[in-house]
């Protein structure tokens, strides 16, 4: 059974790019509709991701939330000094989540969370002007986490659990700005690996200040994915001892999935709930993306990310017995420093506008829907650390539109 579950999970392609770097902030319909808040908001099994300490405060014995999103993001680029322009034709990403909790007793709940917090899927036209940095990239990581939530008192609870991560990467780019074979086909390299695993953990705490005011905090550890078993494919290199040979070789690379700390508060009054969350993501662990190939070549790509913050606000309103309405906003600070703006994660500060609703089909079942429009300002930026000493830049404009749908079950 477990095996089948795993297999079916891998059938999903949940690649996407937005939220600073390659963080994909889409971990629940109800939370997303409220600006992706929820570290102090006990409402559904989505709390398993946002703050496992809250699981124990869920009213029902069994709670399940599951859902997915369609991520439609694209990036336009141009350089007015050369007249070059291009835009991504990225496949729609489909991040998903599955959360469940089971109350063993008054003080102890167990849970399971499966979610996809990191990923990136960007597809530029092959051989575009920045193809020496990226033609296409598809990064994905699935987090699988058993959880335990313990009520210390009616006011205070803690929760957490180990995280098992399995990731995959497929990244293609041209060897440099000009190298081709004799027919003019650009020399390029693809690195591909999947089933890269590692472990991490998360822990949260919740404090009910009063009946309608709750504080929460949650920390998710950094996990570094070390790729050592993958394949690097060199293609369209000319036949010469002066350049690498065509064919497969091994490679090693590591990609950090940074730690994040969220603190927040929820205030509930009658039919209203108000959330405020603040998240700090420790991106400074992402110093460079270095790929060392089995044929002795290497690719050194400084990234030099900085820690970044997310400021999130959400509101929910119970319109009727059947309908709940939600809306939110967040400001997403980019971890990318000026001069390090690489087109595989071309992100500047973004403004996320969210909304959504739930329809209570029966006492146990609800259908949840949400959407996010993530808006970025047009920006003039460059990546100044290309290995040949050049710089690649221009004007970028990105946007992402994300509809999502899910189910909430309680019993």
């Amino acid at each position: 059974m477990k095996k089948i579950l795993f297999t079916s999970l891998f059938l999903f392609s949940f690649a996407t790019t937005f939220a600073g770097g390659y963080r994909v902030g889409l971990q629940g319909q109800r939370a997303l509709a409220m600006g992706h808040t929820g570290v102090a908001y006990v409402n559904s099994a989505e709390i398993a991701f946002f703050n496992p300490a809250g699981l124990v405060y869920l009213e029902n014995k069994i709670n399940v939330s599951a859902g997915g999103f369609g991520v439609f993001s694209d990036v336009a680029w141009q350089n007015t000094s050369t007249g070059q322009y291009s835009s991504t034709d990225s496949p729609a990403g489909t991040p998903f989540y599955l959360y469940g909790s089971y109350a063993l007793n008054e003080r102890l709940s167990l849970g399971l969370a499966i979610y996809t917090p990191y990923g990136s899927g960007v597809e530029w036209p092959t051989d575009w002007a920045g193809s020496h940095l990226v033609n296409n990239i598809d990064l994905a990581a699935i987090y699988i986490q058993p959880l335990v939530s313990f009520k210390i008192s009616d006011k205070f609870s803690v929760g957490g659990g180990p995280i098992f991560v399995t990731g995959s990467v497929n990244f293609n780019r041209n060897a440099d700005r000009t190298l081709t074979d004799l027919e003019g086909n650009r020399s390029n390299i693809t690195v591909d690996d999947s089933g890269v695993t590692n472990w991490g953990w998360s822990v949260g705490a919740m404090f009910n200040v009063s009946d309608n005011f709750t504080l929460g905090a949650n920390y998710r550890s950094e996990i570094i994915l070390e790729s050592t078993e993958g394949t690097a494919t060199f293609a369209n290199f000319p036949d010469s001892p002066l350049v690498p040979a065509n064919g497969d070789t091994s490679f090693t690379a590591s990609l950090p999935l940074p730690a994040e700390l969220t603190v927040g508060a929820t205030y509930e009054r009658e039919k209203w709930a108000f959330n405020v969350d603040y998240t700090r993501t420790y991106w400074d662990v992402y110093e460079d993306l270095d790929i060392v190939f089995g044929n002795g070549r290497e690719s050194i790509n400084p990234r030099n990310y900085k820690n970044s913050s997310l400021y999130k606000f959400g509101v929910a309103y119970e319109a009727s017995e059947k309908f709940s309405l939600r809306a939110g906003y967040y400001f997403d600070e980019s971890p990318v420093r000026s001069g390090y703006f690489a087109p595989e994660t071309p992100r500047n500060d973004g403004n996320g506008f969210t909304a959504g609703l739930s329809y209570q089909v029966s006492n146990s079942f609800a259908i949840d829907a949400s959407f996010l429009y993530l808006r970025f300002k047009e920006i003039d930026e460059s990546y100044d650390y290309v290995s040949d000493g050049s710089s690649f830049g221009g004007t970028y404009k990105s946007s992402a539109f994300v509809p999502g749908i899910g189910l909430t079950y309680k019993m």
Binding site: T80, S81, G83, Y85, S240, D388, G389, S399, P403
Partner: protein, 500 residues
């Protein structure tokens, strides 16, 4: 559920509305302007430099990186139209005539048995047969090998004349008829904008052949010229003016290029004059062999038959270390051979830094002129012959003709209000220090400098891109257009490949 359907429909609408759109997208046009020029029908006229020729051949990717094609790509941002080129079939570059190969394949940089990389001709059977005439018209009317007067010569594209050298196999491929002229085929397209870069071969074929041709100054009938002769400046001025008249008849503007110095291209600057390394014993032995010749020079000088300066120039002396090669210089005084009455002494001297050895001299220097005579090492015991060296007197003829052509070009460009590219100054800059661009530099150094392809004469795609940028700057300055330049770092330099 109906609500969900509505919601999904709304999502779809929003989705389309939310696609990332730049504030002022280049893609939509209007960012760049053409000024007073009209780039809708751009026609380029010239020789190999216009055709995209490189690495000793005209091949497909070279044509795609021809400077007019690069220009046309940028013109397309401001009203420029399609730019058709008479593309060859392959990336080998050799031409066939009726199945027989008549021009060589391209050079590639290949690592030899010694482990050192060097240019070699790429092996393989080319597939471009000149008897397969393409249907035009073509915007790129660059014809490798064409001299100024060839553009107005009827029959220059007649296949019947190729074998005898009376016509040009490259023009045969796309001439509108056997009797067509290049300039008439260009003008018939009613260009709205044009480029003209012609006159290089009027001195270059003389130069690359080491000056074995004749300076035709004073001879106004180019039909009597040999392939390696220097064109008379009046002939040049006359045909250049005709060509401009034909092109300006319909065009709103154009860009013209002058003729660079031969001394700025690696074909003449790569092989040093003193490429002969000798040890002390060998040098002494060689000097012994020249003792009689040196004595003869001293005698003729004391008798007044030659000047002391000529005596010094003709006194052969080898030393331990690097030595100047012995060359044959036809401009030296004819001196009877006292040992064999009725014959003359060879016109030998050692080269000086003012002598320019052509690139192909590298393959004969130090080899034996006579396989059976170990003393016939070329440059030591046997002289380097005329076709490998451009002596100062030969260079003077080239510079005189070039200066006159350039005066004509500059004057006619000004008179017609055309954009003018000082290719002479640009190539001199590449030769004397180079230029830098984002992430690199471009110099004239053979093979490694980036600007020149492996034939030592024609630019690389990156070199052509740099020239295209210079043309764009001149065009913008002349016509008030705002065409953007290209990023030269995006263009390739030389190709590496093993040839087998």
């Amino acid at each position: 559920m109906r609500n969900y359907i509505k919601y999904m429909a709304l999502s779809a609408v929003l989705l389309t509305a939310c696609e990332a759109e730049l504030d002022n997208p280049i893609e939509d046009g209007g960012v760049y302007t053409s000024g007073s020029a009209d780039f809708s029908n751009f026609v380029s006229v010239g020789n190999s430099l216009t055709s995209g020729y490189a690495d000793g051949a005209l091949y497909l990717t070279g044509q795609q990186n021809s400077f007019p094609n690069i220009l046309a790509g940028q013109f397309a941002l401001a009203g420029g139209g399609e730019f058709k080129q008479p593309l060859v079939n392959d990336n080998l570059g050799g031409l066939l005539a009726g199945g027989n190969q008549i021009t060589e394949n391209r050079f590639v940089l290949s690592v030899g048995a010694s482990g050192n990389p060097g240019p070699v001709r790429l092996s393989g059977s080319p597939t471009t047969d000149i008897s397969n005439v393409l249907t035009g018209p073509f915007n790129n009317m660059g014809v490798p090998g064409a001299k100024s007067f060839h553009l107005v010569a009827p029959g220059y594209g007649n296949i019947a004349g190729v074998a005898a050298g009376a016509s040009n196999p490259y023009f045969v491929r796309f001439a509108s008829s056997a009797n067509a002229t290049i300039i008439a085929d260009a003008a018939a397209q009613s260009p709205t904008f044009f480029s003209l870069w012609i006159g290089n071969n009027d001195i270059l074929s003389y130069a690359t052949s080491g000056g074995v041709g004749v300076d035709q100054k004073g001879n106004l009938d180019p039909s009597t010229y040999g392939a390696n002769d220097i064109t008379d400046p009046q002939v040049f001025a006359s045909v250049y003016s005709q060509e401009l008249n034909a092109l300006t008849a319909t065009a709103t503007g154009g860009v013209v290029f002058n003729i660079p110095d031969v001394t700025s291209i690696p074909y003449f600057t790569t092989v040093p004059y003193n490429a002969i390394p000798l040890d002390a014993a060998t040098a002494a032995g060689v000097n012994q062999a020249y003792a009689q010749y040196n004595g003869g020079m001293a005698l003729y000088a004391s008798g007044g038959a030659i000047t002391a300066a000529e005596r010094d120039a003709r006194t052969i002396n080898f030393v331990e270390g690097q030595n100047a090669a012995v060359i044959l210089d036809e401009s030296l005084t004819n001196l009877p051979n006292p040992a064999a009455p009725g014959t003359f002494l060879p016109k030998l001297r050692q080269a000086t830094p003012d002598d320019l050895f052509v690139l192909t001299a590298s393959s004969i220097l130090g080899t034996l002129a006579n396989q059976n005579d170990p003393n016939s090492v070329i440059g030591v015991g046997a002289p380097v012959t005329d076709q490998y060296v451009l002596t100062p007197s030969e260079q003077a003829l080239i510079f005189a003709a070039q200066a006159s052509y350039n005066t004509t070009i500059a004057a006619l460009a000004q008179a017609n209000g055309l954009a003018f590219v000082d290719a002479k100054a640009i190539l001199n800059q590449l030769a004397t220090g180079g230029i830098t661009f984002d992430g690199g530099s471009l110099t004239s150094t053979f093979a490694t400098g980036g600007a020149f392809s492996l034939d030592g004469v024609h630019p690389t795609p990156r070199g052509y891109a740099y020239l295209a940028n210079q043309a764009i700057l001149a065009i913008n300055a002349t016509y008030g257009s705002t065409i953007p330049t290209v990023n030269v770092g995006d263009y390739n330099t030389i190709s590496v490949s093993q040839s087998n």
